[in-house]
Amino acid sequence: MLDAAWIIPLIPALSFVAILFFGKKMPRQGSEIGIVAIATTFVLSCVAAVQWIQRVNRYEGSHQGLGALGKSLMLSTQEHGAVVKPVVHSITWWQNGAFKFGIGIQIDGLAVMMLFVVTLISLLVHIYSTAYMKGDIRFTYFYAALSLFTASMLILVVAPNTLQLLVGWELVGLCSFMLIGHWWEEGANTNAALKAFLTTRTGDIGLMIGVIITFFAAGTFNIVGINQYALSPGADHTLMVVGASCLLIGIIGKSGQFPLHTWLPDAMAGPTPVSALIHAATMVVAGVYLGARVYGVFWSGFNIGDGGMNPMAVIGAITILIGAALAFVQDDIKKVLAYSTVSQLGYMVMGLGVGSWVGAVFHLFTHAFFKALLFLGAGSVSHSGSHHSFDMKKDMGGLRKYMPITFWTFLIGSAALAGIAPLAGFWSKDEILATAGQGGFELFAIVGLVGAFLTAAYMTRCVYLTFFGEYRGHGQPHESPKAITVPLIVLAVFSVFAGLANAAPLGLEKFGEYVEPKFAFPPVIVPTFDYGLAGASLFIVLSAIGVGVFLWFREEEMHAFKGLTKRNVLARGGYALLVNKYYLDDLYEGVIVAGIKGPIARASYWINQNVIDAVVKGAGLAARAIAGGTYTLDQDVLDAGYDGLARETGASGGLLSRVQTGRLQWYALVSFAAIGVFSLALVIFR
C-alpha cells in the first residue's frame, strides 16, 4: 500500500467527477458515492499507517539502537548506516531543460498520520452532512465539493515536492472558497469567501517565492532534497533566512496566524460541517504541515536550535494570545470556536518555532479531533436546538436537558481543548510547552500557559451559555438524528484517547517513534516529561475553569440571593459577609477579569476589526482607488496621447491641404519656382 499510495488521493478525485456528472441521478443525490469513496480511502489510509509502522519496526529490528541514533543528526546515510527513509515515487510531470519535475507520493510517518486524520474526519463529516445538509438546494454540489476538497488535501499530504504541495495548497483554497460561498445568494457569504481566498492568496505570494528560493538554493523541489540541503553545512544562510521568512508568510496566510487571521472567523459563513473539516481540522493546518515538512529550512534559517527568539515562535505566540482574547467577546458559537482555532494554530506554529516538531505535529493531530468535535457539536446544536441560529445569547441556553449526547460530547471536546489531563489536548499542549521550556524558549512557555488559562476560561463561558441556564430560543429543541450523533461520539472517543499516542509518562512515545522523520531531519531536542510544568498547567486550567464557573454560573445563584435578601431582612445582614465577598468578587471581576475579558479583549477586538481588518479592507479599497487612478491615467493620459497624436496628424494634414488650390497654373508656378531654386542652388554650391 505504501508504494501504491497514489490511489488514496485518486479515489476522491474520481468520486468528485462521478458526483459532478451522475450525482443528481443517484437515489441519495450523490452522497453515497462520496461516502463510499471516502470510506475506501479511510481504510486504505489505515492500511498504509499499519504498513508504515511495520516498516519502521522492521528497520529497528534489523538495526538495533538506530532508534536512538535516528534522533541525533541524521544527514548522511553513509555515515550512520541505514535509517527508515520515506517511500518516494514520482513520474515526470513537466520538464525544463535538463530538469524533470515529478508528481508522486512521499509516504512517511507524518504523511500517514495526516492521511489518517484527513480521511477519518472527512468520512465523519460526510456522514454527518447527510443529516445536517438534508434538503439543501445544492446538496449534490456540496458533496462534490467535499470530495474535491478531500482529494486536494490528500494531494497536498502525499506531496513529495514543494511544487505539488503548492498545487494541493491552492486547490484546497479553491474548495474553501467554494464551500464558504456555498449559499452564494447572500452577499455576506460571498464576501467572506472572497476575503478568505484573497487573504490566503496574499500569503501565497510568500509561499510561492519561498518555494522558488528553496528550489534555486537546493536545486530541487524535492522535500527530502531541500531538507538535506538546508541542514548541510554548505547551505547558503542568507537564502535560507529569506526562504524561511517567505514560507512563514505562506503559513501565516493559510493557518490563520496574526496578522492575516481575519479571514478565518468570517469563513464561518460556510456550512458547519465545512467549518469542522476545512476551517478547523484539515485545511488550516496545511500551513503547519508545510512547516513540519520543510522543517530543515526553518531550523537552519531561523537558527531554532539556538533558542531565544525567532519570527516563527513570535508570530505563533502573538496568535495564541489575540485569538484567545477575542474568543471572549463573541456571541456566535462558531466564532468562539473559530478564534479558538486561530489560537490553537498559534500553539502549533509556536511549537514549530521553538523546536517542538513532535509537539506541533502531535497538537495538530489531537486538535483535529476535538475541534472537529466542537464544530460538529455546534452544528448539532443549531440543527436541532436553536433553529439554525448560532447566537449563544439569544437562541441557546439550557440545552443539556434536551440534547444529552451533544452536550456530553461537547463537554468532552471542551475539556480536551482546555487541556484537562488525561484528555488529548493536555498531552500535546504539554509537549510543546515542555520543549519550549527546555529548549531555551522560556518566555514562550509562559505565553503558552497564559493561553491555556484563557482557553479554559472562554470554553467554560461557551459551554455555560450554550448548555446551562434557561432556554432562550423559540423552537422545540431535541436531540439530533443518529447521522449527527454517531460522528460526535466517534470524535469524542478520539478526543479522550488520542493523547495517549504520545503520553511520555506512560511510556508511550509513538509520535517520536513512528511519525518523526529519521532522515534529513534537524537534531530537535526530546523533552523529558516535566511533572512540575504539567501540574502547573493543569492547575492553571482548572483555576481558569473555576473562575469561569464562578463568573458565568453565578447569575443563577444571584437570583436565589436576591430573592432571599428581598424576602428576609435578617438574611440580608446575615449574608453580609457573603455580600462582601461578592463585592470583592465584583472588584476582582471588575478590575482583573473584566479587564481581560472586557476592555482588553474588546480593545483587541476593536483593533482587530478596525485596524487589522481595516488594513485588509483598506488595502482592498486602496487597490480600487489606485485602480481608478490608473485607469484614468490609462484613458486620459496614455490613450489620450495616442488619440492626440492621431488628431494632430490629421490636423497637420488639413493645414497642408490648403496648398492644394486645385488651380493648375498655381501648381505649375510652384514647380517652376522649385526648379529655379534648385538650379540656382546647384549653380551656387557646385
Binding site: L171, E185, G187
Partner: protein, 507 residues
C-alpha cells in the same frame, strides 16, 4: 506519406483560401450552405493539423520539420520557406482548433449586420494569416502573413462591431501597422547587415547575430520590439486592445485574444531573440520592466472596469505581462513558461470572451453593475464562468498556472549578463500581480454570477448554454483541464526547441 510531409504546411495555410473562394461563389441567400462550407473547410484544415500531430517526430522536436523551401522572390533572395518545430506546433494547432470552434459558435450567434457569407470568409482569411505566421520560416513571408491578419480583423471590428466600432477598428489598424513598418525596416536591416543576404530565419538564427555589432543589434532589435510589442500588447502600447476587444464581435474577440496576441510573443521567440542575441540582452531588463508594469497596471485597470469584456481585455494585458516576463529572462524556464502561457491564455481568455459574448447575447448588456445571479438564471453558464475565472487567476491543476508559476520562477535567475537583483524585484512584483488577478477576477465573478438576479432581468428570457455553445466550448474546457493536470504534454514538446533558443544566452 512523404507527400503529406511536403504538402502539409502548404495545405494547412492555404486550404482556408480554397474554402473562402468556394464560399464567395455561393449565393448570398443560402446561408446553410455557407456555414457548412466554412465549417468543412476549417475541419479539413484541422484534420491536416491532426495529421501533422501524428506525423511529427517528437524526438526531434527541436528541429524544423515538414519543411518546404521553394524559390519565391529571387531578386531579394526571399524564399517560400515553411517549417515547424516544437515552438510553432502547439500554436499552429491552437490556431486551427480555435478557428473551428469559432465557426461552430457563430452558427447561431451572428452579430448585426448578419451577412454570414462575408463574416465566415473573413474568419477563413484570418486563419490563413495566423497559420501562415506560425509556419513561415522566411522573414518576408512571415511579414506578409503577419499583415494579412490585420485586414479581416479590421473589417470584423469595423462592420460587425459595437457602437464605437469605427474608432476602434481604425485605431487597431493604425497602431499595428505603425509597428509593422518599423519591424519591416528591421528585417531589411538584417538582410543587408548579414553577410549571406538572406531572409531565411533558420539561416539567420544559425548566425546568432554574428557580424552585427552590439550597437546596431540594439537598434535593429528596437524596431522589432516595437512591431511585436504592439501586437502583444505590452504596456504602454496596449491602448488599442481594450477598445478593439470591447467593440469586436464575440468571435473576433476570441480570435484576437486567443491567437492574434500570440503572433507578437511568437515573433519575439522565433525571430527577435535568436537573430539578435546581444540586442536581446540589452533590451531584456526593459522588456521585463514593462512586463511587470503591465501585470500590475493591467490588474489595476481591471479593477476599475464596469464592462465585463473590457475587464477581460485588460486582464489580457496583465497575463501577457507574465508571458513577456518569461521571455525577458532569456532562460529556458522563462521561454517554456511563455509558450505555455500563450497556449493557456489562448484557451482561457478565449473561453472568457465566449462566455462574455453569451452573457451579452442574453442580457444585451455587459455592465457588471446591472448583472448578477447568473448562477440562478443560467447555472451552467455561471459555472463555466467560474471555472474560467479560476483557470485565469492561475489555479494549479488548470492550464493558467503553468504559464504563470514557471515565469515567476524563471525571474529568480535570469540568463547570465542580466542583473539578478532587478529580475528578483520583478519576480516579487509579478507574484503580487497574482493576488491582484485573483482580486479582479473573483470580484467580477461575485458580481456577475453570485447573488440574485437584478429586478430588470427577473423575467428576462435567458437561455442557458445551448448545443452550439456546448460543442464549441467543451473542447476548450477539456484542454484547460488536460494541460493543467499533465503539463508535460506541452513542455516536452516545446522544451527541445526552446533549448535551441536559450542556449545562446546560457553562455
Amino acid at each position: 506519406m512523404s507527400w503529406f510531409d511536403d504538402w502539409a504546411l502548404t495545405l494547412a495555410v492555404f486550404l482556408p483560401v480554397v474554402g473562402m473562394v468556394i464560399l464567395l461563389l455561393i449565393p448570398r441567400a443560402e446561408e446553410g450552405a455557407q456555414k457548412l462550407v466554412a465549417l468543412l473547410t476549417t475541419l479539413v484544415t484541422f484534420a491536416v493539423g491532426i495529421g501533422i500531430l501524428f506525423r511529427f517526430d517528437y524526438n526531434r522536436a527541436g528541429r524544423l520539420q515538414f519543411g518546404v523551401d521553394k524559390s519565391w522572390i529571387d531578386v531579394i533572395n526571399s524564399r517560400y520557406h515553411m517549417g515547424i518545430d516544437g515552438i510553432s506546433l502547439p500554436l499552429l494547432i491552437l490556431s486551427m482548433f480555435i478557428t473551428v470552434l469559432c465557426v461552430i459558435y457563430s452558427w447561431n450567434h451572428f452579430p448585426e449586420p448578419h451577412n454570414p457569407k462575408a463574416f465566415l470568409a473573413l474568419i477563413l482569411l484570418l486563419e490563413v494569416g495566423m497559420n501562415g505566421t506560425f509556419a513561415a520560416q522566411d522573414l518576408i513571408l512571415f511579414f506578409v502573413f503577419f499583415e494579412i491578419v490585420l485586414l479581416p480583423m479590421f473589417f470584423m471590428i469595423g462592420v460587425w462591431g459595437g457602437p464605437n466600432r469605427e474608432y476602434a477598428s481604425i485605431k487597431f489598424f493604425l497602431f499595428t501597422l505603425f509597428g509593422s513598418a518599423l519591424m519591416l525596416l528591421s528585417f531589411l536591416a538584417l538582410y543587408f547587415l548579414s553577410d549571406v543576404h538572406t531572409f531565411s530565419i533558420p539561416a539567420l538564427s544559425a548566425l546568432h547575430g554574428s557580424g552585427i555589432v552590439e550597437g546596431t543589434q540594439t537598434l535593429v532589435f528596437a524596431g522589432m520590439f516595437l512591431g511585436f510589442a504592439i501586437k502583444v500588447p505590452m504596456f504602454p502600447f496596449h491602448t488599442w486592445l481594450p477598445d478593439a476587444h470591447t467593440e469586436a464581435p464575440t468571435v473576433g474577440s476570441v480570435l484576437l485574444a486567443a491567437i492574434m496576441l500570440k503572433l507578437g510573443t511568437y515573433g519575439f521567440i522565433r525571430i527577435a531573440l535568436p537573430l539578435l542575441p546581444k540586442g536581446a540582452i540589452n533590451w531584456a531588463p526593459w522588456i521585463g520592466g514593462l512586463a511587470v508594469i503591465g501585470i500590475i497596471y493591467g490588474a489595476f485597470c481591471c479593477l476599475a472596469q464596469t464592462d465585463m469584456k473590457r475587464l477581460i481585455a485588460f486582464s489580457s494585458v496583465a497575463h501577457m505581462g507574465f508571458v513577456m516576463l518569461g521571455i525577458a529572462t532569456l532562460t529556458d524556464f522563462g521561454i517554456n513558461a511563455a509558450i505555455f502561457g500563450m497556449v493557456a491564455h489562448g484557451l482561457i481568455t478565449g473561453m472568457l470572451f465566449f462566455v462574455a459574448g453569451s452573457v451579452q447575447h442574453n442580457f444585451h448588456t455587459r455592465e457588471i453593475k446591472r448583472l448578477g445571479g447568473l448562477l440562478v438564471q443560467a447555472p451552467k453558464m455561471g459555472w463555466i464562468l467560474g471555472f474560467c475565472v479560476m483557470a485565469s487567476l492561475g489555479l494549479p491543476g488548470l492550464a493558467g498556472f503553468w504559464g504563470e508559476f514557471p515565469a515567476i520562477l524563471s525571474a529568480f535567475q535570469p540568463a547570465p549578463g542580466l542583473s539578478d537583483v532587478v529580475f528578483r524585484v520583478y519576480m516579487v512584483i509579478a507574484a503580487i500581480g497574482t493576488v491582484l488577478a485573483a482580486g479582479y477576477l473573483l470580484w467580477m465573478l461575485q458580481r456577475v454570477a453570485f447573488g440574485t438576479p437584478k429586478s430588470e432581468f427577473e423575467d428576462a428570457d435567458i437561455h442557458d448554454v445551448g448545443l452550439a455553445e456546448w460543442i464549441a466550448w467543451t473542447p476548450m474546457l477539456l484542454g484547460i483541464v488536460i494541460l493543467g493536470v499533465y503539463p508535460n504534454l506541452l513542455f516536452s514538446l516545446t522544451n527541445p526547441a526552446v533549448e535551441h533558443v536559450s542556449r545562446v544566452f546560457a553562455r
